[in-house]
Amino acid sequence: MLLEVKNLHVEVEGKKILNGLTLTVEKGQVAAIMGPNGSGKSTLAYVLAGKDNYNVTEGEILLNGESILEMAPDERAAKGVFLAFQYPVEVPGVATMTFLRTALNAQRKTRGEPEFSTPDFIKRVRETSARLGVSQEHLRRAVNVGFSGGEKKRNEILQMAILEPVLAVLDETDSGLDIDALKIVAEGVNRLRAPDRSMIVITHYQRLLEFIVPDVVHVLAKGRVVKSGGKELALELEASGYAQFTDEAA
């Protein structure tokens, strides 16, 4: 088991958002998390990544059997946790290339691995970006500054490809994308599916799951998982909506 989330209770600014959430993700599995607005989907993403102000009051998160609750965000990143942000942040003046290299080498340093030499790194980025259809010009631009919605999301996928996480959490990667951009991003994600890489795909809509087909679907409502099933569960939800779960949980 790659990820075990056990009876997780989380408060944000005194407000309880997750209420005993339990979830497991197997190695290599792609798990979709669906749910209505306010069900705690993004909170789950942030808690996994270790964002400040998300207070875990009860429960446990184990990555490969090891608790990560006390780890700083960068330590978790070095353990292979990656979060593709719903709203990627702009970092003015920092070229995407520089950002990637700083991030990758920081992770390697934390893991006690040697840093990449500049030529090796450049080779790696060039190959990966070519595969994802990211231009050289894009690599020279400041991180996410002036990027379109599609470019920002593609930039997240590029970072994921370079950093090679064991657990990738994609938070509403489909939001703000038109169908063409969505297809490109989904294709990028699909290329990164691997036996030793698990993914949690968080989405409100079933649409994304047509392109990134999950192994399992979990439905989140009022801060806990209320139903789990195969990929067909997404289609059921599309037909019946979330109301049944919000009523049930209430």
């Binding site: 270790g50 400040d52 965000p73 960068d74 942040v89 970092v91 003046g93 070229a95 991030a103 920081a106």
Partner: protein
């Protein structure tokens, strides 16, 4: 705001003991007796074996200084300086004549080694190959160094090659001996003896500094560099630098400063004068990391500097680039007098303050000639309990028709106990001038730090990256080896993570 808080904590932890250059070199030195009087001025002049005109010049300055008052308009607060409780001249005792670097006191060379100055010519000739991000080999650069150890220039490298090009690059004291006509013509012609309290003091007691003259049409074959270092306790350092680019000449000059830790505040009052004739250009870059004082504001350098360039000729250009990370007090306004028609002045600045540092810095662009242009890019970064003020003057005189200025001042705050202030003065005395002023103040956002940390960077690395992004426009103006140094320095001064 825990993420920000953490950064602030980290920054706060920067202990003064981590000041990398805080070591004292134990060398016997020769000092003037304590205090400042006409005798002190005569002593310094005699030590330098100066001609009578130079002594007269100094004495006139000293008389004038006695009638002047210390300026108080800057946004800095410091204990009253006792000008009688300092040494005004200190020189390492050495063999009288040095014919090569080998004769320089090994301890001094060791000090420079610690500072990372490539003093030895062979090292410089070996030239480290640097690559940019795309793996391309950057042009190897060579730098001629005039090292000022306390008050005396210890060794000057690359003299021969410069001589062949006709470039004069000498310690000021030697220039006074060897080229009195040039020194007399230009010294004090940009910053008059009576200019201001600190400049006048400097005029009376300046001990050494650099002199550069680039003859007409010559492009200086290498970058020129001076490293200043204050070693002796309680000595003020009063360098005097004078750079002249004659018609169509070009020179790039780098100045770097460090000082060991001292409990007492040390006074530093330099004067730098630049002159460009028709079509000439001077690029002057400074990296200043004097000792900033400890976390409680004890000790540190008081830096009161007058730097001014005179674009005397048509189409001439002066560009100041500064990276200011040290000093307890910084009072510094590198300026341009745009006298020649179509001349251009530039000021690029990064000023970082931390702990209890106080920075009041900026520039003056004085448009006198027609169609003169100027550009100001200032990036202030305040952390800890520091105060960081940009103070700038842009003025166009009646006859300066078609003058243009663009000013951009950005401030970045780290934590909530520091301050950033912008004080622009803008005066246009004719109707055809166009002045633009942009300013912004921002805080390093928690979201930005979290984004970086999620990708694996520590809080320090994330802060350094964001800050480096913030100052990028200015870093790009620095010569390559300085930019690399400056980038490191920014990390050191903000994170305390050396290396």
């Amino acid at each position: 705001m825990p993420a920000v808080q953490e950064t602030v904590d980290r920054v706060r932890q920067i202990d003064v003991d981590q000041y990398k250059y805080g070591f004292v070199t134990d060398i016997e030195s020769e000092k003037a007796s304590i205090g400042l009087s006409e005798d002190t001025v005569r002593y310094i002049s005699a030590k330098k074996n100066e001609p009578a005109w130079m002594l007269e010049w100094r004495l006139a300055a000293f008389k004038r200084w006695l009638t002047m008052r210390e300026p108080t308009w800057a946004r800095v607060d410091y204990p009253k300086i006792d000008y009688q409780d300092a040494y005004y001249y200190s020189a390492p005792k050495k063999k009288p004549e040095l014919s090569s670097l080998d004769e320089v006191d090994p301890q001094i060379l060791e000090t420079y080694k610690k500072l990372g100055i490539p003093l030895r010519e062979q090292e410089m000739l070996a030239g480290v190959v640097r690559r940019d991000e795309d793996g391309n080999v950057l042009a190897e650069r060579r730098v001629a160094v005039d090292a000022v150890f306390d008050s005396v220039s210890v060794a000057t490298t690359f003299k021969e090659e410069l001589k062949r090009a006709g470039v004069i690059f000498l310690p000021m004291s030697e220039a006074i001996q060897q080229h009195p006509e040039l020194v007399r013509k230009y010294l004090g012609s940009v910053v008059p003896v009576t200019d201001n309290f600190f400049a006048t003091l400097n005029s009376a007691v300046f001990s050494d500094g650099s002199f550069v003259y680039v003859p007409p049409g010559v492009r200086c074959p290498m970058e020129l560099s001076t490293y200043f270092r204050i070693n002796e306790a309680n000595t003020g350092q009063f360098e005097r630098t004078l750079i002249i680019a004659d018609k169509g000449a070009y020179v790039s000059y780098l100045e770097g400063c460090t000082a060991p830790m001292r409990d007492e505040n040390q006074l530093h009052a330099a004067v730098v004068e630049l002159v460009t004739h028709d079509d000439a250009e001077i690029k002057y870059s400074t990296v200043q990391n004097w000792y900033p004082g400890d976390a409680d504001g004890k000790g540190g350098i008081f830096n009161f500097v007058t730097k001014r360039g005179d674009c005397r000729g048509a189409r001439s250009k002066i560009s100041w680039t500064q990276v200011e990370t040290g000093s307890a007090i910084t009072w510094k306004y590198p300026s341009c007098i745009l006298r020649g028609d179509n001349s251009r002045g530039e000021f690029y600045s990064i000023a970082i303050s931390n702990g209890r540092q106080q920075v009041d810095s900026g520039t003056k662009m004085i448009h006198l000639g027609k169609n003169t242009t100027s550009r100001i890019i200032s990036k202030g970064i305040a952390a800890g309990k520091s105060d960081n003020t940009y103070r700038g003057l842009v003025t166009a005189h009646r006859k300066a028709t078609g003058a243009r200025n663009f000013t951009n001042c950005d401030s970045l705050l780290i934590g909530d106990q520091c301050g950033a202030h912008t004080v622009p003065y803008i005066e246009a005395k004719n109707s055809s001038s166009v002045f633009e002023h942009e300013a912004s103040t921002s805080k390093i956002s928690e979201d930005m730090l979290f984004y970086c940390r999620q990708r694996g960077m520590s809080a320090e690395e994330a802060t350094a990256l964001v800050v480096n992004g913030f100052v990028r426009d200015v870093l790009q103006q620095l010569p390559m080896e300085f930019a690399v140094e400056a980038q490191k320095l920014i990390s050191i001064s903000l994170e305390g993570s050396v290396g």
